[in-house]
Amino acid sequence: MVIRLAAVGDVHLDEDVVGRFRPALEELPECADVLLLAGDLTRHGTEAEARCVAEEFGGLAVPVVTVLGNHDHQCDQVPQVVKVLEDAGITVLEGNGVVLDCAGGRLGIAGVKGFGGGFAGRCASDFGEPEMKAFVRTTTDSADRLGAALRSLDCDMLVALTHYSPVPDTLVGEPLEIYPFLGSYQLGQAIDSAPTALAVHGHAHAGTERGTTPGGVRVRNVAHPVIKQAYSVFHVGDQLDTDQVSPIGQSGSQRSWS
């Protein structure tokens, strides 16, 4: 049994590009059980741009699950953006998860936007000025919520969805100097704290498609400029024993927008 995932990130929609993805999206049911969107759905995170996303990715024949990206926060309209997406039937994750019944089994998806901070041995520390500590604590908090969400899902296969990268592997092609703004090892640690089958992220437009966490979880950067197609498709055959996945907790914990 196989679970079929389609994924793309960083579509940065606005009026000028509405309709471009739609022909390819209509073919989704033939190759995928679900479409994952890895954040940066919009250019500036306005309600109007979110309506473009709803038009492009709403009403598809497969469920659509997303996290937001940093661009989706730019205009401080996150609650409005989320509402427009949810009204279009898109599931927006931030520190929680969802379980979908697919032909190949129950697919659990946990998602957070994530944040920067850098990678093991070359990362920011929770030390010094309040601004620095706030930066690092934002990452730690995000990673903690991702880990908790992953461990809470009762499913046959577990997927982590983030905007920021959990590993440096998929950043290759980006300037080394900006790695700390592209992701954090703590997201990888969270992914490795659960029996995750696949981690999907975006954000690194000049990065590389494939990577692996230190714990051996496969990571895919699906940023649109990286994959250069409407979406990538992954057929994951790796079924987990049910007792490997914590049976505790419910599939849809409350969202934590404030």
Binding site: D16, R20, P23, A24
Partner: protein, 90 residues
């Protein structure tokens, strides 16, 4: 961005920094994925955007702000076709 006049003959590195920030912070552009590379004769912009309109807008905004800096652009428009291959992950 600052409103400070950067002078008639600004150091290239500062121009490069200002352009990089303009590409992200100018609401008409808002692109984080464009690289500015300093070549001998011009600054070259590399990257991928979602539409020809956005590519034109980038050049327009940059040359508007830095009329004396020779800029060339090698920016591509990303395709949105359905994939032809599926990655099997056993």
């Amino acid at each position: 961005m600052t409103d400070r006049d950067i002078g008639a003959d600004p150091p290239d590195e500062y121009v490069e920094a200002e352009i990089q920030r303009l590409l992200v912070e100018d609401p008409a552009v808002a692109e984080q994925g464009i690289t500015v590379v300093r070549r001998e004769r011009a600054l070259v912009l590399y990257g991928e955007v979602e539409s020809p309109h956005r590519r034109e807008e980038i050049l327009r905004r940059v040359s508007e702000r830095f009329p004396d800096v020779p800029i060339t652009s090698d920016i591509g428009v990303i395709g949105a076709q359905a994939p032809t291959e599926i990655e099997q992950l056993p």
